[in-house]
């Protein structure tokens, strides 16, 4: 059985992140790029399953040249092989295009039993790609899993969202997206880091994934960022000295801010 993990390289959430260029895409030049922290947990889950079930793990990432580092990190953690989807035509790809491309890449892997992904990436936060990939591949989707069990050809996931908790069960093959609660990812070992260099990574472009596509339409991403403004800087809070009227002034302020 093959387990495919979908991962994305994102700007480090602990650093300043900016958009650049006329199309307001991420300024990769100035960002510290890291493997997305939720995707890293998806990778950890894949590797745990690999150890338990004896599966092979293929890591798939779409992104520019530098995204190879994110793939290498998962290989260093213990994955077996990588597919790097790298094509200038994918710059600024929206969630639909991303999902179509990722689904096409997953189709190139034989005997896929499970596709794992983070339930969202910390940059885009659309949280839509895993469900779309599942739909495109015709797989059952078990999203927002905080716990996962695979046994006898079935997968069971404890799904947790702000709306509540549910237990989902599906036959394999299936797609599972995980939340940051599912595990603590391992550190890559030095042996793993050194071995990762020798593991196969296939670089593919749009022509490889869609040899029959005529290009137009599909390659034009359907949405674009028209305008972006930075969040206004935080301003100092208001100090209310209680002279007996503080309660009323506080409520007035909250009403004025449309907070109540």
């Amino acid at each position: 059985m093959n387990i495919v993990v979908l991962v994305k390289q994102v700007p480090d959430t602990s650093a300043e992140r900016t958009l650049a260029g006329a199309d307001h895409t991420l300024d990769r030049e100035s960002a510290d790029l890291v493997l997305d922290e939720i995707d890293e947990r998806a990778a950890e889950e894949a590797l745990t399953l690999k150890e338990d079930l004896g599966a092979e793990v293929t890591v798939v990432s779409m992104g520019p040249d530098a995204a190879l580092e994110a793939i290498r990190k998962v290989l260093a953690m213990g994955a077996d092989r990588g597919i790097h989807i790298c094509d200038d035509g994918l710059r600024g790809a929206d969630v639909v295009t991303t999902a179509r491309v990722l689904a096409a890449a997953v189709r190139t892997v034989a005997d896929v039993g499970l596709v794992l992904a983070g339930n969202a990436t910390t940059d885009g936060q659309a949280s839509a790609v895993p469900a779309m990939v599942a739909d495109l591949l015709g797989l059952p989707q078990l999203t927002h899993a905080r716990e996962l069990n695979v046994d006898a050809g079935r997968v069971r996931a404890e799904r947790e969202t702000e709306h509540g908790e549910t237990t989902l069960d599906a036959p394999l093959p299936a797609l599972v997206s995980v939340t940051e609660k599912i595990n603590e990812p391992r550190y890559p070992s030095f042996k793993g880091i050194m071995a990762a260099k020798k593991k196969p990574v296939e670089t593919v472009g749009l022509d490889d994934l869609f040899p029959d596509a005529d290009g137009t339409g599909f390659r034009t991403t359907r949405t674009r960022v028209v305008e972006a403004v930075p969040r206004p800087a935080r301003v100092a809070g208001m100090r209310v000295t209680d002279d007996g009227s503080a309660g009323r002034r506080l409520v007035d302020h909250l009403i004025a801010q449309k907070l109540v």
Binding site: R72, K73, A76, Y187, P188, S189, F190, M194, K197
Partner: protein, 391 residues
């Protein structure tokens, strides 16, 4: 008027640009592990003189222990990677770097280099995994810079050896499962592996240290300790045995201290940016900038020296006097930086909340062990003039 302080003073010269991707990844992995597991607690551990032994298996799992050795469960990285791991460890605390140096470069290296197949098989995989802890006994109460005067003695008794004497300032001594012990014999200095629990072998931890408090330092005593000849490191003859191990450890130190200096400097730069006096951050004052500039310049030079020596080591052409240059210069610069950073922090600098004074105190030990400034000065002096001035 607002400034964006440099996050890492080594970025001024883009030191990372002379490293390979693999070296940077290994460094980043160690840094992440320490940020998660050590940094949140290190001030407390230092204050309480606590060594977090439970981290040894975790360091083993990462591959840190004996990482530059080949085989027997060791990772087999290059020397520069080993240096960078030491740098990150010492950025957390010199005590952790000391633990790793002694485990990998003194205990494991002595067995790896001078041991029999049986000794290697017995100890190296467990030491690499952090399941067993090793120490290295060369220094004695009365013999530090001059180990050739050592009084610890091993004499033949039939097929066995009887070991008597004591060793002082031994990192990991009190918790070690195996001690590499150097002793005088009829034929000169020889090394022995003494397992914990061997009758007559006892240890006593040294308390009330003002330095390396998050690491264990002990005295070892040997009272009529009977050892089979299979405990002797068969390939080690003379002082060359222990000195070869010290060269390994010194290499780790000349990289490691960069970490203590970098961490001090990061604390100082961050503090100077947020500390407002006379209406502006103190980092905007010329005197503070001179301090930060001088320190960043000296750190950058020390880092380039370390990488250069690492490349020589990876080409197997490094000479002991070159390691002396690195140890002498980099520890001297690091302790100067840590002390100067304390002044930038003002009164806050004496609190354990900030790292510079802890680093400076740790570096007092680092300056002395593995060859004092004086000894390395004379080693370099001899290389320059041809005269050995320490004899």
């Amino acid at each position: 008027m607002s400034g964006t302080p440099l996050k890492d003073p080594l970025d001024l010269l883009d030191i990372a640009s002379v490293l390979t991707g693999e070296e940077r990844e290994i460094q980043a992995t160690v840094a992440k592990f320490l940020a998660d597991r050590v940094r949140p607690h290190i001030g407390e551990w230092f204050e309480n003189a606590h060594f977090a032994r439970e981290l040894a298996p975790e360091l083993g799992k990462l591959g840190v222990l004996g990482m530059h050795l080949e085989g027997y469960g060791c990772a087999g990285t290059n020397a520069v990677s080993y240096g960078l791991a030491c740098l990150e460890l010492e950025a957390a605390d010199s005590g952790f770097r000391s633990f790793v140096s002694v485990q990998g470069s003194l205990s494991m290296f002595s067995i790896w280099k001078w041991g029999s197949q049986e000794q290697k098989q017995e100890w190296l995989p467990r030491l690499a995994a952090g399941e067993a802890i090793g120490c290295f006994g060369l220094t004695e109460p009365d013999f530090g810079s001059n180990p050739s005067g050592m009084r610890t003695k091993a004499v033949r008794d039939g097929d066995d050896w009887i070991l008597n004497g004591s060793k002082m300032w031994i990192t990991n001594g009190g918790i070690a499962d195996v001690a590499t012990v150097w002793a005088q014999t009829e034929d000169g200095v020889r090394g022995f592996l003494v397992p914990r629990g061997t009758p007559g072998f006892t240890t006593q931890d040294i308390k009330q240290k003002m330095s390396l408090r998050a690491s264990i330092t002990s005295e070892l005593y040997f009272d009529q300790v009977r050892l089979p000849d299979s405990a002797r490191l068969p390939l080690a003859e003379g002082l060359r045995g222990p000195l070869s191990c010290l060269n390994e450890a010194r290499f780790g130190i000349l990289f490691g201290v960069l970490g203590a200096a970098r961490d001090s400097l990061q604390a100082a730069i961050g503090y100077a940016d947020s500390r407002v006096q006379f209406g502006k951050p103190i980092s905007a004052f010329q005197l503070t900038q001179k301090k930060l500039t001088d320190m960043t310049v000296s750190l950058g030079g020390a880092a380039l020296l370390a990488v250069h020596l690492g490349r020589l080591k990876d080409q197997h052409r490094i000479r002991p006097e070159q390691i002396s240059v690195g140890k002498l210069n980099n520890v001297r610069e690091a302790i100067a930086i840590a002390r100067e950073c304390r002044t930038v922090l003002g009164a806050n600098g004496v609190s354990l909340e900030y790292s510079p004074l802890r680093h400076a105190n740790n570096l007092e030990s680092v300056r002395t062990y593995e060859g004092t400034d004086e000894m390395h000065t004379l080693v370099v002096g001899q290389a320059i003039t041809g005269y050995p001035a320490f004899r």
